[in-house]
């Protein structure tokens, strides 16, 4: 049993296009099993790619960025900002007099932008009716598989600072 054909044997065309009708069933099955094995190789490469991403990806750096002033937004009001990069849109929500929470605005289902529903006191994704808790970003309903990444906030005097991302 060898991996490669022996070139001294019959030419490839004779092997693949046999003159015997009964051999056609063999050729089609052999080619299909070769295709399935290549598909299996593709799956394995996919797993290796995830492995490489998990082990060699650079750890994300989270700078300390001022996202707003205390009292800048009313209670149950929101402010949009970007953190940690200008491509990562986030939503800052004032849930109480002295309570602020911030989440990534990207829905964990298909990346639509979520918004805060003050009436229902929850974050809602308009695309597929995914609902998230405003307390911790957990999924309340709908297809999102994971909670919203939460932006870690710190207070520096009158300023609100974003210092990290939890659950990213």
């Amino acid at each position: 049993m060898s991996l490669f054909r022996n070139p001294s044997k019959e030419p490839l065309w004779k092997d693949e296009f046999s003159v015997f009708t009964s051999d056609e069933r063999y050729v089609s099955r052999r080619q299909f099993s070769k295709f399935l094995t290549l598909a299996s190789l593709g799956m394995f490469v996919g797993n290796l790619w995830i492995l490489a991403k998990a082990y060699f990806a650079k750890a994300a750096s989270f700078p300390s960025v001022a996202v707003g002033e205390v009292g800048e937004i009313p209670v149950r009001g929101v402010k949009l900002f970007a953190y940690p990069t200008s491509q990562d849109h986030c939503i800052l929500i004032r849930t109480g007099e002295e309570e602020y929470v911030a989440y990534s605005q990207k829905c964990t289902h298909l990346s639509c932008a979520v918004y805060f529903s003050a009436k229902e006191d929850r974050l809602e994704c308009p695309c597929h009716q995914g609902l998230f808790s405003v307390r911790d970003g957990s999924v309340l309903q709908g297809p999102p598989p994971r909670p919203l990444p939460q932006i870690i906030l710190e207070r520096d005097g009158a300023r609100l600072l974003a210092v990290g991302v939890k659950g990213n």
Partner: protein, 80 residues
């Protein structure tokens, strides 16, 4: 083609069909494994990534072995 050759051909075809069925089952498992690993990775759980890759590699080797078996049976059954 004599009766013996015809019998050998039919037997070879059954063996190839069985091997192909096994490859399909392994492939379905591998597709599930890949999607589950991706889901876990995106959720931030990287602990399952290495075992999944090892399992996937094992399944691929299994498919390769079955493919070699199919090739061998094919060559042996088609000797006229």
């Amino acid at each position: 083609m004599g009766n013996l050759e015809r019998f050998k051909q039919r037997r070879g075809l059954v063996a190839i069909n069985g091997a192909m069925g096994l490859i399909v089952i392994l492939l379905i498992f591998q597709i599930w494994l890949l999607s589950a690993t991706l889901e876990a990775f995106l959720a931030g759980h990287t602990g399952a990534v290495l075992p999944a890759a090892i399992f996937s590699g094992g399944v691929f080797l299994g498919c390769l072995a079955l493919n070699l078996f199919v090739t061998r049976v094919d060559h042996e059954s088609r000797k006229h």
